[in-house]
């Protein structure tokens, strides 16, 4: 099936594949190797498979395809690799090749890919429309009824199993929250002009995190814009081998933002931020967009990184004491190399004690839609994470990525733990808001 001359792994710059000198230094950091002790499920093994396929020594088959989807894409191996192997590029090409060859084709999978990746997440208006229905369902009491009655099991394709993983839909979405007072709350003489990428799931389920991000930016001298027409960043598509759709999402966003006139495009979800930083690579061969994509990529900043860059202002309010653990999102830590900045944000919150979390940068099992595609390992990783979280005695665990937040919220429910899951920026926003009770210094929840 493979040989129609076109092989994305063969097309990939061979030096990226060859860069791996199989030293094995990445193995102990890889959750799938840790779980299996099987070389095939290690970074070194996966790269060897890709190289064998690129060299024509191995046919890409179902085993290869499944292995590529067993990989979490957590990129812990990339941080560990002294040789500087660009595993992210390898991983995306490999999954794209799997999809190009249709190695895992099946009715359910094709249906889900077509409708969820291709339709639902393509336009934010669609996602919001569906989210409103879901919100009605969650509020109506039907959810509880459905859970207890076993009705969910009647849903096709085992979709009912996903229901407990689904996050709560926010009462209002990002634009409804801020459009009104965004203008007036922006600082009169801003130091910077930035735009927020509101995200897809973030927008419908964690709209308050977007509110908090805007608030924090405004308190740090930033004029914040919330461009219309923005869409899911496309990381979901890219990580699942749907390259063309990912490119389409990127173009939508590049069109929506007035990038030239911005100091930064701020992203508050680690996974989305990492993907946005790679728009340049994604659109490198698109003559109409390559240049704009390069400008875009250079301006994308994770919110913590941006705050560290511009110098974060210490809130003045007295806050109640709290103990918080920090879980490192893989794509923030390993992808964007932002590990100190989020901790600085947390430490800026008055009276907040940052308690050490064991294995803070070990994947929580969220990994995009891994909790849906590989529930078994995902839950093992989640239980391991929750055990560490609970051992800290912290009242909250902070994390800077939407996927992790959803997974940890589910973990809290599973473990019946009394722990809040919260974005670092939300803790900081609360401290700024406490400074001027009553004033409208920043865009806030009503």
């Amino acid at each position: 099936m493979s040989d129609d001359g076109l092989n994305l792994l063969r097309d990939l710059d061979y030096s990226i594949l060859q860069q791996c000198m199989h030293c094995g230094m990445c193995l102990p950091t890889c959750p799938t190797y840790d779980a299996t002790l099987n070389e095939r499920s290690s970074p070194r093994g996966r790269i060897a498979l890709m190289r064998a396929i690129a060299d024509g020594e191995l046919e890409a088959g179902v085993t290869f395809a499944e292995e590529m989807y067993f990989c979490l894409g957590c990129l812990a191996c990339q941080t560990a690799c002294p040789a500087g192997v660009d595993y992210a590029a390898l991983f995306e090409s490999a999954r794209a090749e799997v999809e190009r060859q249709g190695l895992l084709d099946g009715t359910v999978r094709n249906f889900v890919r077509r409708w969820i990746l291709g339709w639902l997440f393509a336009k934010q208006t669609r996602l919001r429309a569906v989210a409103r229905l879901l919100r009605a369902f969650q509020r109506s009491g039907l959810q509880t009824l459905a859970r207890h009655s076993g009705l969910l099991r009647l849903l096709p394709f085992g979709l009912g199993n996903l229901e407990p993983l689904a996050p709560q839909i926010s009462p209002r979405f990002t634009d409804q929250l801020y459009r009104r007072d965004l203008q007036q709350a922006n600082p009169p003489a801003p130091r910077y002009r930035v735009a927020l990428l509101a995200g897809c799931v973030q927008d419908i389920s964690f709209a308050e995190v977007n509110a908090d991000t805007i608030c924090v930016l405004q308190h740090n001298g930033c004029q914040v814009l919330l461009p219309d027409g923005q869409a899911c960043c496309g990381s979901l598509h890219a990580h699942n081998g749907a390259v063309e759709q990912a490119q389409q999402q990127a173009r939508l966003n590049i069109d929506a933002f007035d990038t030239e006139n911005l100091d930064a495009i701020v992203v508050n979800a680690g996974g989305c931020g990492l993907h946005c930083k790679h728009y340049d690579r994604l659109l490198a061969d698109d003559p109409a967009y390559a240049k704009r994509a390069a400008v875009w990529s250079a301006k994308v900043k994770d919110v913590h990184e941006w705050l560290a860059d511009i110098g974060l202002r210490q809130p003045r309010a007295a806050m109640p004491p709290q103990q918080v653990a920090y879980h490192e999102s893989c794509h923030l830590k390993h992808g964007q190399r932002a590990s100190a900045a989020p901790r600085e944000v947390l430490q800026a919150v008055p009276n907040l004690q940052l308690v050490p979390l064991a294995e803070a940068d070990w994947c929580c099992g969220s990994a995009g839609i891994y909790n849906i595609t590989q529930p078994e390992l995902s839950m093992q990783l989640l239980d391991r994470k929750m055990a560490h979280v609970c051992a800290t005695g912290a009242t909250a665990v902070a994390t800077g990525n939407t996927g992790c937040a959803i997974q940890l919220q589910y973990g809290v429910r599973r473990a019946q733990a009394a722990v809040d899951v919260i974005h670092p920026v939300s803790l900081l926003a609360a401290a700024y808001r406490a400074e001027n009770q009553g004033g409208t210094q920043c865009s806030t929840l009503a």
């Binding site: 860069q19 094995g24 060897a48 290869f64 040789a83």
Partner: protein, 459 residues
């Protein structure tokens, strides 16, 4: 050879997830950490007990099927590269720490335990397991013993051999041999355990290891010396030793290596000097302070541009961790990294370093050199591209000359990585006919049919 029959027989006592036969699985166990060597096995076995190993060996011995033991596959001489048509016997699932006996200062472990786990367990008990190869986070103790691996602390604390007190080994015919024990002294018969240390998987499969632990040093200090000339760094090392100071670590990195390590670690290593010496002393606080001062003075006299003391334990650890990545980090510069392991008497270090530079220039190949200077152990690393046959021929020549010169200076072709497949052609020159013949007789005594890692080290 009939793979199907072999696999079906192995399948009678190994679960499907312990017996891997797909092309995909065989291709990922085809290599170790060594460049250029590659051979797919017929199948991969992942035993979980000594009994399974014994059964497997009985079967393979009857059938004359080659078996190549493997730990984490980080070896740098091709020692765990499988034999054609053979079984790759991967021991990583025997990964239990069986006992930590504080009364006798020993730890008993299975072979698949990672070296780092042993170091951590010892530390948690207030003890110390000193051998720390650069690969410590992933190498298995079985691999360490089979290669008699060194590390960054060899100068003062010795190598793996100095910590092995006892071994349990499954022999080629499936019998189990126990050799050594927890006793400090033991002269009952030949010290057979010593034969298995550095045996490269050719004499038996190690299934249990009793290791000596030592009390943790009360304090340590780490210094970083920067040099404008490599030979000055080499001379400093010789001077420290000549003054009868035994630091635990004297590691060396040349400019090429420093640049790569800094690109990976980003810890602010200086990239504008020709050589860096990482020096560590440990022991009683008063003695440590005195020796650190002495070393600093010697380094300055030796021409160091600057000598800096690590400000904290964390910084010291960061420096050591960065040093451990040297070899892999060099791969940033070239797709193929061929590394050597020559060791010379420490008085000859400066001469050897200068020679390596000269050879690289003469054959126009890029070389990065780093190594355990305190042990006289250098890792000249040739940076090349295996697809460029003309360049590889030059690398080959340069390597041969480096080996010859090391032997001329009274040194050895390999200090710690082993002979494996990579250095096999150079072994006769090093050992001479008598030495080689005795090795072969020992091999035959333990493994008459020659099923264990055949073709490794010698034919």
């Amino acid at each position: 050879m009939d793979h199907a029959a072999l696999i079906s027989d192995l399948g009678t006592f190994l679960r499907p997830d312990q017996l891997l036969t797909s092309d995909e699985d065989c291709s990922v166990y085809a290599f170790d950490g060594t460049a250029l060597l590659h051979q797919r096995p017929a199948c991969v076995a992942l035993p979980e007990s000594r009994e399974e190993i014994s059964q497997l060996l009985v079967l393979c011995n009857q059938r004359g099927v080659p078996v190549v033991p493997r730990g984490s596959g980080t070896g740098l001489a091709g020692g765990s590269v499988p034999s054609q048509g053979g079984v790759a016997l991967c021991l990583v699932r025997l990964n239990q720490i069986l006992e930590l006996d504080s009364a006798n200062l020993v730890i008993v472990v299975q072979p698949g335990v990672l070296t780092q786990q042993i170091a951590d367990a010892a530390q948690a008990a207030g003890l110390f397991y000193p051998p720390d190869p650069g690969s410590i986070k992933i190498s298995t103790i079985g691999g360490n013993v089979a290669n008699n691996s060194g590390g960054l602390r060899g100068l003062k604390y010795g190598v793996t051999r100095d910590y092995v007190m006892g071994l349990e080994v499954v022999l080629a015919d499936g019998q189990v041999l126990e050799t050594g024990n927890k006793c400090v002294k033991d002269v009952a018969g030949f010290t057979l355990k010593d034969l298995f240390i550095g045996s490269e998987g050719m004499l038996g499969v190690i299934t249990k290891i009793t290791l000596k632990l030592v009390p943790a040093p009360a304090s340590k200090k780490t210094l970083l010396g920067l040099y404008d000339e490599m030979t000055q760094a080499a001379a400093t090392v010789s001077a420290i030793i000549a003054q009868k100071i035994i630091p635990c670590t004297l590691e060396f990195l040349d400019r090429t290596t420093i640049e790569c390590v800094e690109a990976h670690a980003g810890i602010g290593l200086p990239t504008d000097c020709e050589a860096v010496l990482l020096m560590e002393v440990d022991g009683h606080p008063a003695q440590v302070a005195e020796q650190a001062a002495q070393i600093e003075a010697i380094a300055r006299e030796g021409g160091a541009r600057s000598v800096r003391l690590a400000a904290s334990d964390a910084e010291a650890q960061q420096l050591a961790a960065a040093r451990r990545t040297a070899f892999s980090a060099l791969a940033r510069l070239a797709p193929t990294v061929v590394l050597e392991d020559v060791t010379v008497p420490r008085s000859e270090l400066a001469a050897m370093v200068a020679y390596v530079q000269e050879v690289g220039q003469r054959h126009q190949v890029q070389v990065g050199t780093f190594g355990h200077f305190g042990d006289g152990n250098l890792h000249p690393t040739f940076l090349c591209d295996e697809r460029d046959t003309e360049e590889m021929a030059r690398v080959e020549k340069a390597m041969a000359e480096v080996f010859d010169h090391a032997v001329e200076l009274g040194g050895t072709i390999t200090g710690e990585h082993g002979v494996g497949l990579a250095k096999k052609p150079y072994l006769p020159g090093q050992l001479g006919p008598v030495g080689l013949e005795i090795l072969k007789r020992v091999k035959t005594a333990f493994d008459p049919k020659g099923i264990l890692n055949p073709g490794n080290m010698f034919d």
